[in-house]
Amino acid sequence: MSIHKSTIERIANLARIGIDAGNIDQYSRDLSEILDLVKKMDSVSTDNVEPLAHPQDIELRLRPDQVTEPNHRERLQNMAPATDQGLYLVPKIIE
């Protein structure tokens, strides 16, 4: 299966990866090869087979909806690229 350039652009947009225009052909070739490998799944018949999401096939445990952590804002924001007065800074999105 060959992935068209426009599909590469669409996926890159969905994944928010700004791939360089010059690399699109390379991506197209690499991803097509991987999908060729993946398509080998089709040789296995899966009619009436329930999908398996969790390897132990059980429901995940829920925790009580309780506050267990104190406020770590400062510690957590220390590792952010840009903060100010307890806020994360990003480019302006509302004019």
Binding site: A15, R16, I17, I19, L37, M41, L52, L62, A82, V90
Partner: protein, 485 residues
């Protein structure tokens, strides 16, 4: 030579006062320095390790030491640590310092282990050779022109060269077992849910599992004992009793049935590996185990299935790296979208971007059923193949890998050929069951060969028992590459 000892022996040496924790840590720090060219470590905590060692020695003087107090260990750089940066082998996290310790790190520290540094790995654990690391490839101590395997290649190389007596790793499709096989070590991937994933940076959450890379099954048991168990901070960690792994190491294996799947012994496997695997099986027979032929008919679908499920989960997990809350942010940008896109393009390496793209594609409108749903259905079929096999046998044995360690650069530009190197390990993760790789010989180039034993869910103690018994009558696990003797 203290550095040639196992954790078990070092523990006794510390207890008897034959060596102090400070001396031991210095010895390993010297070796790490001396063999820097392996590039096994991303960060070494010289100062911190010595401080930990001093306090370990003090505890011992005060009579408050445990059996494990003062034993050095290294962590794969996927485990979050407060003391050192946690990069996950990526430019994205080049300067990331976690605000908390992973549960595995915390538990091992609590029983007395000294964390000496963070080991190299494929970027976000995506790779089978440790060549996708942003911090350069790791070399195999058995032949520096060859890969140490991956993604836990730094941990394996460090233990193989005895830069540290044991290390932690993680395994999503073979990332503990394959490097253990390539480096002549014992590596255990526990059952899914056995070891907490809290603070272990997620690649594919339904497959990832942490475990030990060690010199012997005995050491692996000792580590797993202190890594395993319920952790409320990880909703996928399971509430199963953790047995005493050391207590059952010497149990007789007489009468146990080892299933030998014909699919794992075909012509795609190096002849030297087939020969070594058969000799190992003969050794198990001498120990009283019984060999029976079995079939895992859908094994071949494992790799295609994995390369949908793992990238799909990765595409979701790695969406958190957006240059806002932590990690790398691009230098110059206009609007928010451009900031995301440039940050992610520059912060991630090629293999990571490939997998995010494949995962995004497989989950996108119109493709979900044909890819993701189909893969999850195959996942059930593969898990059932194992379940059926375990009606007939107690364990399943086969080669860990189809080849021994390949050359650096040999597969890195051909993703699909790299993926195929995990053919025997990947189905185990899909089924969520435990498996161990143990050294069982060398090929004609002097490269280690690994045998994989797979067991039913939560039977890690059986795998350790089998491996330990084998290691009592063989000496493959004691071999060291000459330069590192």
């Amino acid at each position: 030579m203290p550095y040639r000892q196992t954790l078990t022996v070092l523990s006794a040496m510390l207890k008897q006062g034959k060596i102090s924790a400070v001396e031991l840590v210095r010895c390993y720090l010297d070796r790490i320095q001396r063999f820097q060219n392996l590039n096994a470590f991303i960060a070494v905590d010289e100062e911190g390790a010595l401080i930990q060692a001093e306090s370990a020695d003090q505890l011992r003087m005060q009579g408050e030491a445990t059996n494990l107090t003062g034993l050095p260990i290294a962590h794969k750089d996927i485990f979050c640590t407060r003391a050192l940066k946690t990069t996950c082998g990526s430019r994205m996290l080049e300067n990331f310092v976690s605000p908390y310790d992973a549960t595995v790190v915390e538990r091992l520290a609590k029983v007395g282990f000294i964390s000496i540094g963070k080991t190299n790995m494929d970027e976000f654990a995506m790779g089978s050779s440790t060549e996708t690391s942003y911090f350069g490839h790791t070399c195999n101590p058995w032949d520096r022109n060859r890969v140490a395997g991956g993604s836990s290649g730094g941990s394996a190389a460090a233990v193989a060269a005895r830069l540290v007596p044991a290390a932690t790793g993680t395994d999503t499709g073979g990332s503990i077992r394959q490097p253990a096989a390539f480096c002549g070590l014992t590596g255990l991937k526990p059952s899914y849910g056995r070891v907490s994933r809290y603070g272990m940076i997620a690649y594919a959450s339904s497959l990832d599992q942490g475990g030990p890379i060690a010199q012997t099954a005995e050491d692996a048991a000792l580590l797993l004992q202190n890594m395993a168990g319920l952790d409320r901070k990880d909703s996928t960690s399971l509430d199963r009793q953790v047995p005493d792994y050391m207590a059952t190491l010497n149990r007789s294996i007489s009468g146990l049935k080892i299933g030998v799947p014909k699919e794992f012994f075909d012509s795609s496997v190096d002849q030297s590996i087939l020969t070594a695997a058969h000799s190992a099986l003969a050794e198990f027979e001498k120990l009283g185990a019984q060999l029976i032929d079995i079939s895992l008919p859908n094994s071949a679908a494992g790799i295609p299935c994995y390369y949908v499920i793992a990238p799909a989960e990765a595409s979701s997990n790695l969406s958190r790296f957006d240059g806002v809350r932590y990690g790398y942010r691009t230098e110059s940008y206009g609007d928010l979208k451009e900031m995301y896109e440039k940050t992610r393009n520059e912060g991630f390496g090629a293999e990571v971007k490939h997998r995010i793209m494949i995962g995004t594609f497989a989950l996108s409108t119109g493709y979900y059923d044909a890819y993701y749903r189909k893969a999850q259905q195959i996942r059930r079929i593969i898990a059932e193949d194992f379940r059926n096999a375990f009606y007939h046998c107690d364990y399943i044995a086969g080669p860990t890998t189809p080849t021994t360690a390949f050359l650096l650069g040999e597969k890195i530009s051909d993703p699909v050929s790299m993926y195929l190197s995990d053919i025997f390990t990947i189905t185990v993760n899909l089924a969520g069951i435990p498996a161990i790789s143990m050294p069982v010989g060398f090929d004609n180039k002097g490269l280690p060969i690994g045998l994989q034993l797979t067991g039913p869910s939560f039977d890690e103690s059986g795998l350790l028992n089998m491996t330990h018994r084998y290691q009592q009558v063989t000496d493959w696990h004691w071999q060291l590459p000459k330069e590192y003797l």
